[in-house]
Amino acid sequence: MEFFKPGVTYDFFRYRWPFIFTSLGLTTLSLLSLFWPGPRFGIDFKGGTEVELQCQGAVSSSDLRDAVLSLGFGHPDVIAVQGVKDRYILRLEQISSLPAAQVAKARAALGTTMGAANVLDFAPSPGGDKLSIHLAVPASADQIRSALVGAGLNVRDVSQFGNSEDTRFEAHLVGIGDKLVKGLRDKLGDRAPERPLRVEWVGPKAGAQLRDAAVNAVLYTIAFVMVYIAFRFDLRFAPGGVVALLHDALITLGVYVVLQREVTLGTIAAVLTVIGFSISDTIVVYDRIRENMARMRDASLAHVINVSTSQTLGRTVITSGMALISVLGFFIWGTTLIRDITFALCVGFLVGTYSSIYVAAPLTEWIDRRFFRRA
């Protein structure tokens, strides 16, 4: 079985300009998309809300996930607590939002009751569902509660915090956990949890440190790959391979950002994979060009590229096709998170295959013409 007739040379090079412009356009758009709308970072990177729930009837993790998804909470992590039936920890991207203006208003309201100078501390939690209050004078929880409710806050309860002579209070606001439970009651009926066992803001698993490490690692990778290509092949080949690699990584990220899919640790792995795929695909085409350059000394580099690309076309299509098929299963059956990652991989594999032919090769040819032939 054969997809391409052997011995036929397709004139890839003739049609390069439209493709080069498309690539330039897509890369520029991807770069821009990183600033606007900007990546939508998931819980891994920016934290979120963690809610622990005890369902009152049998609920499977997929039931719960579907219910939460249909409530419009984005993709949650649904973690079953082992040993307790139907107890789950959910991690949601959303956090209860508490606008600064409202915080200021509430603080002022409390100030009128207590005396503005007596409100020592009035800080909302990062998750926006808790206020830490420190007063200089003793007060009752009810006084604080009515002041906050008066300012338009949706207060669940106010409690004293720490030892009794310490005049610290915590006001819990009706937030995302309550909203979630209310929504679940509509979806799951009797089986829904009665109330959230605990609602807490969780910090990011991977902060700026990991993101910087990822960017640094990729930049170093590019540098070393460039050196390796220059050493194994030729100086003219190096920029093409690296530009193709950047092109693929950027476009993959760009598509991801434009569709506003959640960027997780898995996305980082996917982009790294695309980089790996892109390098190896480009090198295979390069290897053929190198081989044919030695055999066809009189031919122009453009012709050599055409011949080489045509010869490797069968392999290119099979390998990329197999790679696509191998992640397609995840895409069809996976849950949302896995689907996002495989989606990135599919985009990356397609772009990676294309870029070897229309980014790496033309750039190599141009560098050859511009810097090497004149001498």
Binding site: D77, S280, L328, I338
Partner: protein, 610 residues
């Protein structure tokens, strides 16, 4: 077939069998492993948190401790400055012990709650030295009240939150570094208000114990000078049963080489607890002066002649000046070394950073011929006499001696991990433990497995149809590759989480690619009219440079990612690196064996590669 082929074939069979044996224990749940295999092959792949779940530990960070630490720091700084203003301490110099004693005679400090200090003066004139300028110098202090001879200061409210947050963040980073130091890259450490949450994949109790142990260690390393001239312990009349008073001759400075010094000792099974309870009681009743500390340590290492304590555990007290002179923050590096003089007993060697080295030199120089206690987490590890000023910034910590070699070695190793990761800024307390399921959800994992299985079968089927015999060989190689890759992961006790699975998918793609390249080349050679035997030979030779270069470039990328990446990036890189090695082995070495068997062993006239 020639000899070389048989050799290669046996090597392949050997590696395959070995790979299977390494991998088998990881598949125990589906294919029970016979005992001998289990005994010799202990490595296992542990599925990550997202795939199998694990243990979730919650710790409370005692943030108030951070506030009182700040208060104590300011208290010391103010005392020192007051010493200068009172003309007792020379400007800009580190005050000596005698100078500090003179300051304390005129300025007493009392702690009040966790944020306040009451500074009491013997004369009103001295009190005026603590002026507004000194209070506001540090930005985070404010004056609460002032009388003739007493000034009350406290840490400003605005700074409390910041101090607490910083403490939580530092504690989180420290724990993360420690967990990383254990090689548990897949564990996750997050902060949640004043809690720290550590999630450890897997279900292995021994690992969990080790994690708990290493997290709960405060790893506060301090060097404090023993006060051998005090007589506080001599006055104690209520020693509980089992605690006895002893005296020893100790060196308390160059001019006093032989002073008699008292200490308390307890022996037997509950010795530690008995002695600790009594010491805590003394502390609670304020019978130990505030500038001193009574700590306990192992009694075996005491230079004590009249007590022979080789067989039963015994603990003794040390009476110390309470200020930590050099702390663990000064550590540059720590490693386990063996003491050849004591029968190879492991100890921990420490190198200080330049600041630490200076402090250590100053401390030892100032206290020559005194005893210096090396205190780890409030327990005295040893208390050697300083013979001379110690420059160079090296120091050793020896570990408790009643236990077998391996136990000491493990403790030394864990100590190195925690010392390198740094001390926790404040103590933490375990508050909750839960076993949790996979974060992808059980359904997510099941569907992922289904997706993988279907894709895998389609790829295998397509290869066999498209490349016929060559495709079937490729299929065998791809399966072998998957097995070797997983076996390598098992051998190194790797963790497989979602990023790892993605890396495995990439590797599968590269393994397929190697076979595609070979088959395509053989096809080309066959089309050129070559015999199967020659076509295979040349096909491999030609394909090799593509395979080699593309895989090596990816390997370069993998190594760089490993070098500069952290956490999940590293895990991804490791899988990638292993995968390239195994795909080179199966794709080039093993598939050649199979092709050779067909074209040279079976001498086929027509090689069917589609």
């Amino acid at each position: 077939m020639d000899k070389g082929w048989y050799f290669r074939f046996s090597l392949m069979v050997f590696v395959t069998v070995f790979g299977w044996l390494v991998l088998w224990p990881s598949l125990d749940a589906w294919l029970p492993v016979p005992a001998p295999v289990r005994k010799y092959f202990t490595g296992r792949i542990s599925p990550g948190l997202d795939i199998r779940g694990g243990l979730r530990l919650t710790y409370d960070v005692e943030v108030d401790e951070a506030v009182s630490d700040r208060r104590n720091l300011r208290s010391d700084q103010i005392t020192r400055e007051l010493g200068e203003r009172l003309g007792v301490v020379a400007k800009g110099s580190t005050p000596t012990r005698d100078e500090l004693a003179k300051v304390h005679a005129r300025v007493q400090r009392k702690n009040d709650g966790e944020r306040r200090i009451r500074v009491q003066f013997t004369s009103a004139a001295d009190a005026s030295k603590l002026d507004r300028d000194l209070v506001t110098r540090y930005g985070d202090l404010r004056e609460v009240s002032r009388s003739e001879t007493e000034v009350v200061l406290e840490v400003k409210t605005d700074f409390l939150e910041q101090i607490r947050d910083t403490a939580v963040q530092q504690a989180r980073e420290t724990i993360e570094n420690r967990v990383d130091g254990l090689g548990m890259r897949e564990a996750s450490v997050t902060a949640q208000n004043t809690d720290i949450i550590v999630e450890v994949p897997g279900a292995d109790q021994a690992t969990f114990d080790r994690i708990r142990e290493i997290i709960s260690k405060t790893a506060k390393l301090e060097f404090e000078i023993v006060d051998d001239e005090a007589s506080v312990l001599d006055g104690l009349t209520d020693l509980p049963k089992g605690v006895t008073r002893h005296s020893e001759f100790a060196s308390a400075g160059v001019s006093k080489p032989q002073v008699s010094s008292s200490y308390l000792l307890a022996r037997g099974k509950d010795a530690r607890k008995t002695l600790l309870d009594y010491v805590d009681k003394l502390k609670a009743e304020h019978r130990i002066p505030e500038d001193h500390e009574l700590l306990i340590g192992d009694a075996e290492r005491a230079s004590d002649e009249d007590v022979q304590l080789k067989t039963e555990p015994a603990f003794r007290t040390y009476y110390l000046f309470a200020r930590a002179e050099v702390t663990g923050q000064a550590i540059e590096d720590a490693f386990v070394a063996n003491d050849s003089q004591q029968g190879g007993k492991p100890y921990v060697a420490i190198n200080f950073n330049s600041e630490g080295a200076d402090l250590f030199k100053e401390l030892t120089g100032r206290n020559v011929k005194r005893r210096m206690a090396i205190v780890l987490d409030d327990v005295v590890a040893s208390a050697p006499v300083i013979q001379t000023e110690i420059g160079g910034g090296h120091c050793q910590v020896t570990l408790g001696g009643f236990r077998p070699y391996n136990e000491i070695l493990n403790e030394a190793r864990d100590l190195v991990v925690v010392l390198k990761a740094g001390a926790l800024p404040v103590p933490i307390r375990p508050s909750n433990e839960q076993m949790i399921g996979p974060s992808l959800g059980k359904d997510g994992v099941a569907q992922g497995v289904k997706g993988f299985a279907v894709s895998f079968l389609i790829v295998l089927g397509f290869m066999a149809v498209y490349y016929e015999v060559g495709g079937m060989i490729a299929d065998v190689m791809v399966i072998l590759h998957l097995m070797f890759l997983l076996a390598t992961l098992a051998f190194f006790d790797g963790t497989l989480s979602l990023p790892g699975v993605v890396a495995v998918a990439l590797n599968m793609g590269m393994a397929v690619d190697a076979n595609v390249l070979i088959n395509e080349r053989i096809r080309e050679e066959l089309r050129g009219g070559k015999s199967p035997r020659v076509a295979v030979e040349q096909g491999f030779a030609r394909a090799f440079s593509s395979i080699f270069d593309s895989q090596i470039t990816t390997l370069v990328a993998g190594v760089v990612l490993f070098q500069y990446g952290t956490g999940p990036i590293k895990a991804f890189a490791v899988t990638l690196i292993f995968g390239i090695c195994t795909s080179l082995f199966t794709g080039v070495f093993c598939s050649r064996i199979a092709f050779d068997l067909i074209v040279r062993g079976l001498r086929v006239q027509r090689l069917r590669v589609g």
